[in-house]
C-alpha cells in the first residue's frame, strides 16, 4: 500500500514521517516549491537564510521532519504540485483518485498524474478569514497572513506604518514578524474584549498543564499585561480604511461585546499598510470532494485515529479545527500512523495522542475567546464590497436577498455573482453565507460555498491532455530556479544551525515516535500562531543587531519586538 499525504505543512510532514516509520511508502504533495506550509514559510532556495530560526518557530523540528523525509527513498516528495480534483468511486481497490498537476504556479501544459490512493491523509491547512469593512479593497490592505508570508518568505516589508487588526492569537506573531522586517507596527487591534478573552482562555486551566507555562502566558494576555511598545488593544477594530487609490489612514473604533462598533469612539490614524485577519477558514474543498462528513462546526469530523467518515481517508491539522501547529503535528503523527495501518492506541503515538488532547483543547478556547460576533455588520455600509472578485457590495446582497423569492444561497450567489468569481468564494464565502442566513432565514438548497469540485484552477489544454507517461519526472518543475528539498537541507546544515540551537539551552526529549520539546528556564514553548505563545528569545539573552540602521531588537515576553528608537 501507499499513503498519499496532501499538504506539506506541519500536519502533512508529521503524517509522512509517521507513515514512513511503519515502513509504508508515502507520496507527499505540496503546491509550493518548498515544504513547510504556511507555518514554516521561509526564504527560497535561491537565497537561503543563515539564520532562518530568527524568523521561525520550531525550526529545528521542521529541519528534522524534512531531513528525515528527503533522505528517505520510501517517501516521494512532489512539490509544485496541485491537487486539482479528487474523485470518489464506488468500486475498485481504492475508491479515491487524486488528480495532480505539477509545474510553476498557474502554468500551462503542466504534466498530470492520477494517484489511486489506498490511504489518503488530507492536511491542506487553512487561510485567513477577513471580514469586510469599508475600504478593505484598497491596495495596502492585506490579510495578516500576507504580512507573515511576505515577511518570512520574501523579506519584503509591506509598509512603513503598519496597523495589524482582527481577532485571534495569530495577530501577535504577525506583529513580531512585521516588526522584524523593519516596519513600525503602530498597534495591534483585537476585536474581542478582555472579558471574553478571559472567558475563553481561562476556564479549566488544569487542562493546560500539559503545556507547561502556557497558562501563565495566557493569563497575562487576559489581564492586559503585555509589556512591549506595540500597543495591543482589545475590544477595538479597524472599521474603515481610507485613501486615494491606496490606504492612507484607518478608522479605529471601540467595539461592544457583540463586536458592534460603538458610536463616538472612532478615531483616525495614518497608516500605509493594514494587515487584517479575524480568524481562519479551513480549506475544505478536498475533504468535501472526498465526501468526508463535515460537522456542524464546519470542520472535518474525525475519530481518535484521525479517520474521516470515508474509509481510508484521514484528516489532520487546521481542517479538523483551528488548533495551530501543536495540534497539527500531533494529529498528523496520528493520522500518518493509522493511515499506514496502525491503531490509535499504539505506543508509538501515545505522546502524540496526549499532545493532541492538550492542544485540541485550545481550539475551543480560541473560538470562545476570539470567535466572530454578529455585531460586526454594524461597520458595513451599502457600498462596502463583500465579494472582492465580483465587486458585489453589501447593499446589493441585501436587496437581492430580500427581492428574491427563493430563500436560497444559490439564487443569491447567481443573482449577484457573489462567490462565483475566480477565488470561488474562498475569501467571501463564509461572509456571504452569514449574510444570506440573516436575510432569508436559511439556505434551503443545502449548498455551501466550500464545495469546489475543481479544487485548483487547471488549464483547458491540461484538462484535455492525457496523464504524463509513468516514469516521467513529475516531481521536478521545468523552471531552473528550483532545488529539491534534499539539496536545501544540505545547504542549511552548512550554516551551522544546530550550533545555534544548542546555544539557546533548550533540551529536547524525544519519545519513540513523537518528539516533544522541553523548554528551558522560561517554561514556555516555542510556538506561535493560534496558541499565541511567546518567543522567549529575549530571556535567552539573544540580541539582534539590525546593522546599519542601528536599531536593536529585544523580544519581550510576548513575542513583539521593541524598538529603541521610536515607537507608537
Amino acid at each position: 500500500m501507499t499513503v498519499l499525504v496532501i499538504g506539506g505543512g506541519p500536519a502533512g510532514l508529521a503524517a509522512a514521517v509517521s507513515a514512513r516509520r511503519r515502513g509504508v511508502p508515502v507520496v507527499l504533495v505540496d503546491s509550493s516549491d518548498q515544504l513547510g506550509g504556511q507555518f514554516w514559510r521561509h526564504l527560497p532556495d535561491e537565497r537561503p537564510a543563515a539564520h532562518p530560526e530568527r524568523m521561525q518557530h520550531g525550526w529545528s523540528r521542521y529541519e528534522r521532519l524534512t531531513g528525515e523525509l528527503t533522505a528517505d527513498d520510501g517517501c516521494e516528495i512532489l512539490t509544485e504540485t496541485q491537487v486539482w480534483a479528487i474523485e470518489r468511486f464506488d468500486e475498485g481497490r481504492s475508491t479515491i483518485a487524486a488528480h495532480l498537476v505539477t509545474g510553476p504556479a498557474d502554468g500551462t501544459d503542466r504534466p498530470k498524474r492520477t494517484i489511486r490512493a489506498d490511504a489518503l491523509v488530507l492536511a491542506p491547512g487553512a487561510h485567513d478569514r477577513t471580514l469586510p469593512f469599508p475600504g478593505w479593497d484598497l491596495p495596502g490592505v492585506f490579510t495578516a497572513g500576507a504580512a507573515q508570508a511576505f515577511a518570512k518568505a520574501e523579506r519584503v516589508a509591506l509598509g512603513e506604518r503598519v496597523v495589524i487588526a482582527g481577532a485571534g492569537p495569530f495577530l501577535l506573531p504577525v506583529a513580531a514578524s512585521v516588526a522584524k522586517t523593519g516596519s513600525r507596527v503602530l498597534a495591534v487591534y483585537e476585536a474581542s474584549r478582555v472579558r471574553s478573552l478571559a472567558a475563553g482562555w481561562l476556564p479549566k486551566p488544569w487542562r493546560l498543564v500539559g503545556a507547561a507555562g502556557k497558562a501563565a502566558e495566557l493569563a497575562e494576555y487576559a489581564a492586559g499585561h503585555v509589556r512591549h511598545r506595540i500597543p495591543y488593544r482589545t475590544g477595538h477594530a479597524v472599521i474603515a480604511a481610507q485613501g486615494d487609490g491606496r490606504v492612507e489612514a484607518v478608522t479605529i473604533a471601540r467595539l461592544a461585546a457583540d463586536w458592534s462598533p460603538i458610536a463616538g469612539t472612532e478615531r483616525t490614524i495614518e497608516a500605509d499598510a493594514v494587515c487584517v485577519s479575524h480568524g481562519f477558514t479551513p480549506r475544505l474543498e478536498l475533504p468535501i470532494a472526498a465526501r468526508c462528513e463535515i460537522g456542524a462546526d464546519r470542520f472535518v469530523v474525525t475519530d481518535a485515529g484521525q479517520r474521516t467518515s470515508v474509509p481510508g481517508v484521514f484528516a489532520a491539522g487546521e481542517i479538523t479545527g483551528i488548533g495551530g501547529v501543536d495540534a497539527a503535528l500531533a494529529e498528523g503523527a496520528i493520522a500518518g500512523h493509522c493511515a499506514a495501518g496502525g491503531e490509535a492506541g499504539d505506543a508509538e503515538i501515545r505522546a502524540a495522542v496526549r499532545s493532541r488532547r492538550v492542544f485540541d483543547d485550545f481550539t475551543g478556547r480560541i473560538e470562545a475567546a476570539h470567535g466572530i460576533r454578529p455585531g460586526w455588520t454594524g461597520w458595513l455600509t451599502d457600498d462596502t464590497v463583500v465579494c472582492r472578485c465580483e465587486e458585489v457590495p453589501y447593499g446589493r446582497l441585501r436587496s437581492v436577498a430580500s427581492a428574491s423569492s427563493s430563500a436560497s444561497l444559490r439564487a443569491l450567489t447567481l443573482g449577484t455573482r457573489a462567490g462565483l468569481g475566480i477565488c470561488q468564494a474562498r475569501i467571501c464565502g463564509r461572509t456571504v453565507e452569514d449574510l444570506a442566513q440573516r436575510a432569508s432565514g436559511c439556505a434551503l438548497d443545502g449548498t455551501t460555498l466550500d464545495r469546489r469540485p475543481i479544487a485548483s484552477p487547471i488549464r483547458l489544454g491540461e484538462l484535455a491532455a492525457d496523464d504524463a507517461p509513468r516514469g516521467a519526472r513529475t516531481d521536478l518543475p521545468p523552471t531552473g530556479a528550483h532545488q529539491d528539498a534534499h539539496g536545501r537541507a544540505e545547504q542549511e546544515g552548512a550554516h551551522g544551525r544546530t550550533e545555534q540551537e544548542g546555544a539557546h539551552g533548550r533540551t529536547e526529549q524525544e519519545g519513540a515516535q513523537w518528539r516533544t520539546e522541553q523548554k528551558g528556564a522560561h517554561g514556555c514553548t516555542e510556538q506561535e500562531d493560534a496558541h499565541g505563545r511567546t518567543e522567549q528569545e529575549g530571556a535567552h539573552g539573544r540580541t539582534e543587531h539590525e546593522g546599519a540602521r542601528g536599531r536593536t531588537e529585544q523580544e519581550g515576553a510576548h513575542g513583539c519586538t521593541e524598538r529603541k528608537d521610536d515607537n507608537t
Binding site: E390, A403, S406, G415, I422, I454, I458, R459
Partner: protein, 394 residues
C-alpha cells in the same frame, strides 16, 4: 379554501406556470422540497435554442417559445424594477459547426430540413464564420448560423418568474416535500400531502423535472421521467472573444440518442459575467453528481477543436445537472388521462429553460379553456409513442 392549482416544483417550468396561471386570475400554490430553482434550472446553461431541434413538435414548441421570451423579459424588468437582477436575456445567435469531414454533410442536410420547417438556418462559408467568430478553428468542415438562438440566466429568470407570480397572488411554499396524494371518496385527486401538511387544490400540476418520477409515484400515477446527467465547465473571466453560442454538430445527435452511455459534444458560450461555459455531456447514472474527470477531459478536448485558443484558459469551476429525460424524447405537457386532476409539465430534457414559457401557456390555455397557439397533442400523455412506457394509474 382549496387553491385552483397546486404546482409541485419551483424550477423554471413550475415558476413559469405559476406566473401564467396567477396572471389569469387562478389561485396558485407552488411547493418545492428545497429552495426555488435548486434543481435542474440551476445546473444548466440557459439555452433558448431552435438550432438543436429537427423538424417536429419540439421544434415547433421551441419556435413558439422563442417568440414569447422577448416580451416576457421586458415585462419582468418593468414589473420587478431595477433592483431585481437582470435575467440577461440575449438573442446572441448560435453557430453550429462540423469539426470532421464526415460531419459536414449530415449537418448541412439537417439545417436544410430545419429551414423547411421555418427555422432561420444559414449555412455559411468558413470566411463568413470567422467574421462572426474570429477565434473559431479555421479547419472546420461546415458551419451553420442560427440567428434565432438566445440565452438567459436561468436561476435569475426562475426567481423573476416566481417573484412575478407572487405579485399576482401565488403562494410559494419552500422546504416542503410532496409525500402523497389527497383523494376524494371517488378516488379523484384533490390535492397533495406534504411533509408540512395538506394542500387541497382543484388540480395538481407536477413540474418536478427529473424528480417527476419520484413525485408521480408518490401520487400513485407514475410518469417515466429519468435523470440524464450533464456536466459543465466554467472558465475564469476573460476578454470577450466568443460572441455566439457555438457547438459542434454532435450536439443534436446526442440529444436524440437513447443511449445511456456517455455522449459528449462541445457547447461553448460566454456569459454576461465574462466567463465561458463549456459543455456538454449526457449519461444515465441516476442522480450521481460526483465529478467525473474522464467526462470533463472529453468535453474539454472537443471544445478545443472549436476554439483552439481556449487551451490556455483556466477552468475554475465545474457542476453537474440532471435533465428530465422522457423515453420518447418529448416533454409531457397537459392533463394526465389516467388520473383526472393530475397535470404534467416536465420531461423537457435539455430544453426546459427555453420551453418553459411555451409550456406555461399551454397549461394555462388548457386549464382556462382558451385556444392554444398550436396543437398540443404530441405532448399529451395520450400520444402513441409514450404508450409502451406508461403504467396504468393505481
Amino acid at each position: 379554501m382549496p387553491a385552483d392549482v397546486v404546482i409541485v416544483g419551483a424550477g423554471i417550468v413550475g415558476a413559469a406556470c405559476a406566473r401564467a396561471l396567477a396572471q389569469s386570475g387562478l389561485s396558485v400554490t407552488i411547493v418545492d422540497r428545497g429552495a426555488a430553482s435548486s434543481g435542474t434550472s440551476a445546473h444548466g446553461e440557459g439555452n433558448l435554442l431552435v438550432s438543436d431541434k429537427g423538424p417536429g413538435p419540439e421544434l415547433d414548441l421551441a419556435r413558439y417559445a422563442s417568440t414569447l421570451w422577448p416580451t416576457c423579459a421586458e415585462e419582468l424588468a418593468d414589473e420587478l424594477g431595477p433592483e431585481f437582477p437582470s435575467i440577461e436575456y440575449e438573442r446572441k445567435g448560435g453557430i453550429v459547426a462540423a469539426t470532421l469531414p464526415e460531419g459536414a454533410e449530415p449537418l448541412l442536410s439537417f439545417a436544410e430540413s430545419q429551414r423547411d420547417a421555418g427555422v432561420d438556418a444559414r449555412p455559411i462559408g468558413i470566411d463568413d464564420a470567422l467574421e462572426l467568430e474570429p477565434d473559431l478553428n479555421p479547419a472546420l468542415t461546415a458551419v451553420v448560423h442560427y440567428p434565432e438562438d438566445a440565452q438567459v440566466q436561468p436561476v435569475i429568470a426562475t426567481d423573476a418568474l416566481l417573484a412575478s407570480a407572487r405579485r399576482h397572488g401565488a403562494t410559494v411554499r419552500l422546504g416542503e416535500e410532496v409525500v402523497g396524494a389527497l383523494r376524494g371518496a371517488d378516488g379523484r385527486l384533490t390535492g397533495v400531502r406534504t411533509t408540512r401538511g395538506d394542500v387541497a387544490a382543484g388540480a395538481v400540476l407536477v413540474a418536478a423535472g427529473p424528480w417527476t418520477g419520484d413525485v408521480t409515484r408518490a401520487l400513485g400515477t407514475p410518469l417515466p421521467v429519468l435523470p440524464r446527467r450533464g456536466m459543465v465547465l466554467v472558465t475564469t473571466r476573460m476578454p470577450h472573444r466568443i460572441r455566439h453560442k457555438v457547438y459542434d454538430g454532435d450536439y443534436f445527435a446526442a440529444t436524440q440518442s437513447a443511449d445511456a452511455a456517455l455522449q459528449t459534444s462541445a457547447v461553448v458560450e460566454s456569459t454576461a459575467g465574462g466567463t465561458v461555459l463549456i459543455g456538454s455531456s449526457r449519461e444515465q447514472v441516476g442522480f450521481d453528481a460526483r465529478l467525473r474527470v474522464d467526462v470533463l477531459r472529453e468535453v474539454a478536448g472537443k471544445a478545443l477543436r472549436l476554439f483552439p485558443f481556449l487551451t490556455g484558459m483556466s477552468v475554475m469551476r465545474s457542476y453537474a445537472g440532471f435533465r428530465p429525460y422522457m423515453p420518447d424524447h418529448l416533454p409531457v405537457i397537459g392533463p394526465d388521462h389516467r388520473d383526472p386532476g393530475l397535470w404534467h409539465a416536465s420531461g423537457h430534457e435539455g430544453a426546459g429553460i427555453g420551453l418553459s414559457l411555451a409550456t406555461a401557456r399551454f397549461i394555462a390555455d388548457r386549464m382556462l379553456g382558451t385556444p392554444l397557439a398550436m396543437d398540443d397533442a404530441p405532448f399529451l400523455t395520450t400520444r402513441d409513442s409514450l404508450r409502451p412506457y406508461l403504467e396504468v394509474a393505481r
